[in-house]
Amino acid sequence: GAREQHGGGGQNEVPGGTVRFALPPSATPNWILPISYPGYTASYNSAIQSTMYVPLYAYDGTSGAVAMDEQASAAEPPVYSADGRTVTIRLKPLTWSTGTPVTTRDVEFWFNLVRAGKDDWGAYTSGLIPDNVTAFHAVDEHTFTLTLDKTYNNDWFTANQLTYVIPLPHQEWGDGDADRTPEGAKRIFDHLVAEAKNLGTYASNPLWKVVDGPFALRNFTANGAVSLVKNPRYTGEDPARLDGVDFLTFTSSAAEYNVLRAGGVDYGYLPTSNLGQQPELEAQGYTIEPWNGWSITYIPYNFNNPALGKAFSQLYVRQAIQHAVDQQAISSVIWRGTASPGYGPVPQDNDPQYLSDRQKTNPYPFDLDAARNLLASHGWRPGSDGVLTCEGDCGEGVARGTRLEMTLLTESGSDETDGTMQELKSELARIGIELNINSQPLNTVLATGTTCKPEEPSCSWQLSYFGTQGSWYFPAYPSGEQLFTTDASVNFGGYTDAVTDQLVSASTQANAAQTMLDYSARLAEQLPVIWMPNPPYQVSAIDSALHGVSQDPLAGLQPQRWFWTKEVAR
């Protein structure tokens, strides 16, 4: 192949055309049913699903802040009652591709299915949706109310709960009123799941032809290569401007980059090591733009580790370690400026709304002397090999003779991560902490670095890093109930802090904006984890003639808004 030239677009839209979008390696879509299912949670599933099945509420961060994307939502903004326990929602006039309108029955259908199949629902957390919705009441064809079990923070409820709700084509997928009994609903749920477990039939199965979004499915292969075509029957406010989108799969990012260089993709990405090629790519007609995620990245401490858990429990130890992390250098050299430093629990580079000043100004800047002093003043003295050993009163539970030698379990296969770890090791060595790096496949890291009790053998891990792609992507409302509260499911290191627990529950249940700010400040200071630079979702290379692209931090795509400003042959 001859190299394909990109760019060259004008200002005006040229309707139609398709876009070739490069999927990241080994993140290929594998689930079409808009009810997520454990084990089938590839990252692009929901981005693709939401082009076909319009969610009740969509959020995006394209406006600079993460906010509701009304155009892409199936309903008008919710109205909460004064006591906050009732929500009234009005659907927009959408229609299914069969011609039937989208009604409250389709929403009820979703609730019935998810209630019946909640144990198999990928997003289920006990006590949250659908458990916290005690009643569904259809007011009319397009209006319904939900009754909640208690008062919640409205923003949180809309952003983190109602976004799960997706009207489903009751007429075609349901079976009369069968879904109104739990058994019937379970049957239908199981049936849909069974059909969805047959990826080979996605393109032909009539079930998946019924859509209400701007796109419909044309092809879906086992490799994960997906083609979308414009849904001509779409009746909403957000119609597709392209004829279609082709999602291309790649075996490695190096392979993708080779193809990108040859011009074979319109919207792709480049490994950071190739950022030096920006001028060439721009000359070829691409725009290079990092795509930041609504995420934070960190290294949990295992507070239950028998050897070092007690040392980790000392705030001054965590402070010293945090002082030794040169986030600025890591971001700008290892990530070549595409990652951004993160100093606390709230995503830092998209939105100031939830971000406290304390977090923003970095309470623990890179400062090796400060780190050394902190440790020295608490009784740590270097041994013959330079590794600090506790020789005084180092804090509650820290035995004399404890050595600050720790092992970091880290995700393998990424040069950036390897580099970051080496940098970390090197800086920590300078303050007398020996860091051993044990890189393992992501799966092993996740399987090993889990919540544990001190006496269990599985508690031998000390630090764990799984953040090459960002450690945690938030839903629209970046609260920490799953991460940092006592016994939270993803609180792998077993961090507990009563103040945090209280702040988190306030942030989800009370309508006070200040609680999020307090939470942000508290954890920026308390360091439940080592805060690390947050890598971008990807560094995109976009054909400069392709307009309407916004790189949504929530990892949504909205391809319906993309349009060409030049004639494309495809």
Partner: protein, 294 residues
Amino acid sequence: MTTLDPTISLAPAPERRHRGTLSAFLGHRTAVAGGILLLLVLAFCFLGPLLYGSDQVHTNLQAARLAPGAGHPLGTDDLGYDVLGRLMVAGRTSLIVGVVAGLIATAIGAIWGALAGYAGGWADAVLMRIVDTGVAIPALFLLLVAATLVTPSVWVLAVIIGCVSWLVPARLMRAETVTLKERDYVKAISVLGAGRLRIVFRHLIPNAIGTLMVNLTFQIADAILLVAYVSFLGLGVPPPTTDWGAMLSKGITYTYDGAWWLILPPGIAIVLVVCAINFLGDGLRDAFAVRGRR
């Protein structure tokens, strides 16, 4: 990963082995060149750091990705390590892993193959089916499992690779044993009532030493390549230790930036050493093989 199996040309020729082996080897010009090259590389890796000091422990992000120039004859890499110095320490890993893995593989293989070949019958069948099984399981799979179970340090990696690649020498040794045990001296010894182990260790293995030596060189070369693949696949030694394979696979991501100093030095080092070892093996093969010398 691949294995240049030297069985084919090796007709053990014990009657002429000693005298002439050295001279035949020295007469083999490429082999001598290979040997000298290898010595030079060894000196470079193990003595080089004494003459050319550089910090290979601490990163220096401020000096990352410098092109070759004053202070850094081969530039610096993406973490600010001096590439020339890094080439030396990486070479140590590659060479240690290669040699240790080669030795381990050859030792296990020799004993296994000799026992199987000498025992014959059922024991042979069972032992060789195990070898067949090992051959049929992708080495990568074994490496992957092993790397997950233990933290791969340089020595651990060497042991793992050695334990993964003993199958070829085992096969070779068995074939060799099957012919050797028909030799009259082995018969004469076993008639005497000498024990199995004595026969295997005193008679069979020493007499297959030529084959084993040649195979050893290839095992070493292959192990060095295998480390490179393992690093490419992200299972190598933990940083800041590194090896040529890791340097190369990391370096090639900077190909398009034209950072040749990150690619060519480790690439050339691997190619040179593997070639040198293969030439050495080739020379040994000619030195030990009598038929080709007529």
